[in-house]
Symmetry: none
Subunit: 218 residues, 4 copies
DNA sequence: TATGAATGAGACTTCATTCAT
DNA sequence: GATGAATGAAGTCTCATTCAT
């Protein structure tokens, strides 16, 4: 309990193993951490818990990670990479010219499936917003790439947008999409569907202002 | 660190009636907790830290609160009450018939000022989204009233809205408003203004769908 | 919790008040302490508990007693005095020449009534046996006077007994009487009666060896 | 302070198989607790004290015991088992037909040696008489078995005794034997011998009433 | 290299005692 | 003198991290 979060330096704080056997254990630890963080939160999870859930020993955990926080960072990073892959896969030549409505529906649905399938994501997202500004930059960096991807896409859809504006819209969209996704998972199936619908409505209404022509034209 | 609060050095504490002194210390503890929670998060703050920051001893803290979590709850409750007052004050007969744009601008500006002045609010908001059971249940109730207030207002503006829909729109608006407000505070003054503008745009675009007539009429 | 007992010096560690009002409060505190010690034990009782039960404030308690232990000592002392009075009252010219059986029956019954009426006595008796030899001397002193009274009586009944032997028999009798009395109170009414009967049998059988003639003669 | 136990300085602990090392540490903790409880009483001993005296860290203690009370229970249990073994070893076919006097002398001597060698026993015995519920219930069970053993033996010596009576006599004998044993250790060697002699006299005189025939026949 | 027992700093909480009112 | 709020030392227990095996 009560370990202060520290800034993740540029270099990753964990040792990504190359051998298959090690790699498998590394992943098991991250899976365990995800499940436990999602269930009771970062601070309430002990390194012993993680090791046990991952069918290893504490010592095993410390072979890959210098400390408990590094597990969190690695987990966040894994989500980050998976999301990037997802986004990349979603931004094909085809989707990129979809009407705005269709594009957003696509994206939100994909993101929803991802978060629902990865309960640990909520823990990572919320936890990283937990602490003071300075430290929060880790999270910013965490989303940065996705925000950037989105901004790049916005540039294609509307080349007249100022870069600063593009980035702003992108980050706002990502934040809003994330909270509402998380909100959608707090109650029952019906509520989830309702929030999903609202999320789409909201983002469409918001983004239409910046991409009216395409949207109308599309 | 903002919201650090300067104690009048050796102010005539002894001149205050007993109950007032109690109340003052209670508030001081909450202020201290707010500052610390905002800075490093709930778990990283110790009861000793809070007491020290509040210029008391641990024992003093435990005279008011049964345990550390109770401090958090009391803090959340204080914000909740303040926000309710704010909302109530804002929903006068006058404001209630403002055009949607003006109304939202008003609300967002007021909320922005409140959160900026109370950095602890961010900690409470985020932390309460962190863990399922215990704390979250409190938070649900926490926002419930504000959401309800907003839903009631929506009912006045558009009596045709289904109650379920009203509630949904209200909760989505509150969630979105909160994250963006929190986002706005993560960087510099310029960024804050930009995000504020986007928040208004976004909520106006979103809500216009449900309150078109009034908005246009206004 | 966990305050080490310290040797009670010769001088009493409490201030016996002279004024009636004070005296009454002094007694109330002792009554409260007796009840609480009996219920949960010395260490589990707080000075606040005692004060509350005695309808005073902690400050009031500390006007009479320098510390918590002094309350215990004063309580023990009160029991000690009451028992001495009881013994003195019981050793009239009449009882002193009763047959041994009758005498013991008398004594045990009186002692039984006293202990049953003063649940705190058990706490004092047991607690004072709790700690190491050196400290135990307080308790020894505590019983000393009663033991002495008994030894004096033995001397009357059998002037041939060596003083050392007399004292030994007296202390053994007191110890045995006390544990069995305490044992008798651990279960139901029936058990209490049974143990009482055995206590008498046991002491009669034991003491008869030293006072045969009288007993037979009586 | 007796029962302090000399650790072979840097004995080849690492040579012992894992389970043996565990067992050894478990015993060391119990030894430490026994010494300290005997010296200052349960409440005055801290878990840190026990760990230090046992040459471990607090953490080490908590690997074996869930809390402080569990240490006390384990210690009581160890004494209980040792006493049961002692009793069992003492009740051979031979001793069982000894004259009552010889039998009692045997038993008291053995018990005396045991208690003298295990000062912690006093702490356990007295402490467990201290508080009602929690601990006492354990103690009841604690002595129950020994009382039962004794009652069984009584049944052999005098089959005519009512079971209820047998149990009563057994528990009275154990209580009386225990207090007097504890009393014997409060002063010097001479006093100890004297009390020992009286204990035997007392129990012989008491029990003779129930086992007259054998005793006389013997 | 893997294990998991051991360490001990440090968190939370209680409560004897003091002292301003 | 009486009150009871305030203090803070100290106790119990946890858990991140290390290291002998």
């Amino acid at each position: 309990m009560a370990e202060t979060f520290e800034q993740a330096p540029q270099a990753p704080r964990w040792r990504l193993p190359k051998q298959a056997r090690s790699r498998e254990r590394f992943d098991r630890i991250l899976d365990a951490a995800a499940a436990l963080f999602a269930e009771v939160g970062y601070d309430a999870v002990t390194t012993d818990d993680i090791a046990a859930q991952a069918n290893t020993s504490v010592g095993g955990l410390y072979r890959f990670f210098p400390d408990k926080l590094a597990v969190f960072h690695a987990l966040a990073n894994r989500y980050f990479n998976q999301l990037q892959e997802l986004f990349t896969a979603l931004h094909t030549d085809e989707t990129i010219h979809l009407p705005l409505e269709d594009y957003i529906n696509h994206m939100i649905d994909a993101f929803d499936r991802f978060v629902a399938a990865n309960p640990g994501y909520r823990a990572v997202f919320v936890q990283s917003r937990l602490i003071s500004t300075e430290i929060l930059s880790m999270d910013t960096a965490f989303n940065q790439a996705i925000v950037q991807q989105l901004a790049d896409f916005f540039a294609v859809r509307n080349p007249l947008l100022e870069p600063e504006q593009r980035d702003l819209i992108a980050i706002v969209s990502v934040e809003v999409g994330s909270v509402l996704e998380i909100l959608s998972l707090t109650r029952d199936r019906h509520f989830r569907q309702q929030v999903l619908v609202e999320t789409k409505k909201l983002l469409i209404a918001y983004l239409r202002q910046y991409f009216q022509i395409e949207s109308i034209a599309g």
